[in-house]
Structures are given as structure tokens and as C-alpha cells.
Symmetry: C2
Subunit: 202 residues, 2 copies
């Protein structure tokens, strides 16, 4: 199943190019498991979720270490019918047998709780979109129930859910939301915004 993300990193600083270039080394451990293409709007990462989310996390944490207000915006997608499959996307985390929603919620919680800290606090919000199935809201409500127990749930907003906590737990929660909800072979996307060092953080 084809999976990947279009990501953009926004350092609110005159030296935004320097902050971005300084953070790119954080992607090095993942480069052999991702296809990466950059233009002036975003960078495409093609690969399985278990590589995508840690790569986005490490890139964002490296940029946030600059101390500048930084935002990562990402559109993450799996199973889009318009995309060809790619061997680099083979994943153990998606496409397996469908298990009941309650079991998926419990497994997602266990994974988040086992995630190491990065010592980088972040605020995030995201929307989960499940396409092409009549019961998409059941999957979304199931996911929201998981989020509320995740330890990083902040609050519901219109059109999205707000998270707050360590970058490790927040990216792990996003990874679980992406992989465990919606049909295993279905078209699922996340629209993610992650922020650090905001002067107006609440």
C-alpha cells in the first residue's frame, strides 16, 4: 500500500533557511528507507508509517532545538486509489487482518505509553480523514476515544483535535491514529500541525 507525507517546516525566523538546513541531518538515519523529493512548498516522504512518523519527529525536534518558534505541517496519506504502489512502503503496521475497534484502541494506548521521551514539549492538532466508506464516523469516534486516554489529549476543536505533551508521545499518538483506525486497506489521511516555542502558547 502506498503511504507517505507532504511535509513543510516553518521556522518563524529571519534565518529560516539556516534552521531548516541545520535540522535536515536528523533525517539521515531514515534516508535509506524513504524516497524524498523537495520543492519550494513541501517535501515528499514516501515510506511506511513506522519510518515516516519517527523521521518527522526527529526532524521537528531538531528544528525546535534552535529555540525559534517552529511549526511542522504534514499531510500524511495511505491507500490513496490514485497512487501506484511502491515496494519502499511495505509495512507491518497496516494492511493486516481487521481486529475489533476495542482491541485496536488498547493496542494503540500500549504503544504510546511505551514511547521514550524526547524532552521537547510540543502542541499539535490534527484531523483524521477516512474516505470511501459509509461508516467513517465510527472509526473517527473510536479514534477520538483512544486520543482522550492517550495522555496527550488537550481538547477537541472544530474540525480537529488538539494534543499537548512530549514530542515522542505526540508523534506516537499520531502514528497510532493513522495506522489503527479506518479500514486497513482503505484511504486514510491525516492533516497535522505541530508547534514548538510559540510565544503565545497556552
Amino acid at each position: 500500500m502506498f503511504s507517505g507525507a507532504q511535509i513543510s517546516l516553518y521556522p518563524m525566523a529571519d534565518d529560516f533557511v539556516g534552521v531548516i538546513l541545520g535540522a535536515l541531518g536528523a533525517l539521515d538515519p531514515y534516508r535509506d528507507r524513504l524516497r524524498i523529493e523537495t520543492d519550494d512548498i513541501s517535501t515528499l516522504l514516501v515510506g511506511p508509517p513506522e519510518v515516516l512518523f519517527p523521521a518527522m519527529r526527529d526532524l521537528f525536534v531538531a528544528a525546535a532545538r534552535s529555540g525559534k518558534h517552529c511549526v511542522l505541517s504534514a499531510a500524511v496519506s495511505r491507500g490513496c486509489p490514485g497512487e501506484p504502489d511502491d515496494p519502499i512502503c511495505r509495512s507491518d503496521e497496516i494492511g493486516g487482518p481487521v481486529v475489533p475497534l476495542a482491541e485496536r484502541k488498547a493496542a494503540a494506548l500500549g504503544t504510546v505509553q511505551a514511547t521514550p521521551s524526547t524532552a521537547q514539549p510540543v502542541a499539535a492538532q490534527f484531523s483524521l480523514y477516512v474516505m470511501g466508506t459509509g461508516d467513517h464516523m465510527d472509526e473517527i469516534y473510536g479514534c477520538i476515544d483512544f486520543l482522550k486516554k492517550s495522555g496527550v489529549f488537550d481538547r477537541s476543536k472544530n474540525f480537529c483535535t488538539r494534543l499537548r505533551g512530549d514530542a515522542g508521545a505526540v508523534f506516537a499518538t499520531l502514528n497510532e491514529a493513522f495506522c489503527r483506525f479506518g479500514p486497513g486497506a482503505g484511504h486514510v489521511t491525516l492533516d497535522i500541525t505541530i508547534s514548538a516555542n510559540s510565544p503565545t502558547a497556552v
Copy 2:
């Protein structure tokens, strides 16, 4: 039908707060037709599409006039089953009788061609998500066909479509994509990124 957007404005500048505050006046003509709520991640705009898109356009153009590299990120939504309706969202542009896809494409093109210029060039990319219907890809392919004739089509990318041109035509094209494709009463969202003054623009 409930409709609105979560928007964020990212000026890549040490004085990002000043750029944002300097642009906010552009929203004044729309304030009585929008509900607006801000936190440290995004600003919620609740209102009909015919107000939302011009408001986002004028805000972004005002920020781009600073000369700084600026990005607007927006998650635009209509018909989300989890949201209560709101009288402020009443719209003549969505929820009418369903007309054939070919007629909708022609109407969308006419609207874009009639849009005045802002003299602000932008690059943009967006994804259209149509939820809860088995034929969501037919609507998306119909929308892509419209986009290719819109005059601001740049190219298809993985997971999204790239636009380029005057801010007026680009926001009008996004408005048409949002209102004319997907079921009139359905749950449709756009994930939008708009960029100006990038030092690496292609």
C-alpha cells in the same frame, strides 16, 4: 450546513508577530459575517465559503505585502457530521440541487475566469477530501479536470495538486473546488498550503 476553516499564518521572519498583526486588518470587512476564535496553533473562521475564501485571500495578500516569505495553511471543512449547524454558515454556494459534473466544471471555470487580479503571485497546493461516499474518486477526478483548465494549474504531486498564479485566481479556484465537487450536503474538506516570496520558488 456548518462550514469553516482552521487557518494559520506563518511569516518566516523574526518579526512574525508584527507581520501577523499588521495583516489582521484585512479581515475587518468580513468580521460581521464570521465567527473568529484564536489560540496559539490556529484561528477558527466559521462562516459560508463565499466569505471564508475572500477573507483568507485578503489576509494572506496583506501578509505577503510585507515582502517576507509567508505561508498560509488552512483546513477548510463543510458538512462535518460532528459539528452543530450555525446560522452564520448559511450559503447560496452549497447545498442546492445536484447538477451533472460537466455543468459544475463549466460553472467553476466561469467563476475563476471572472475573478479580479490582486497583483500578488502565489504558489499553492491542496488536497480535496470527500468523505462517506463510495464514489469519492469520481468527484476528485472531476475536480482535477476542472483544475487543469483553471489557468492556475501547475502540476499534480503525490497526495495533492499544485497551483500557481495570482492570489485572486488561486483562491477562487480553491473556493470552486470546495463548493462544486463532492455531494452538496456531504462532508468535504480541503487541506491548503499557500506560499509567497519563497527564496527557492521554482
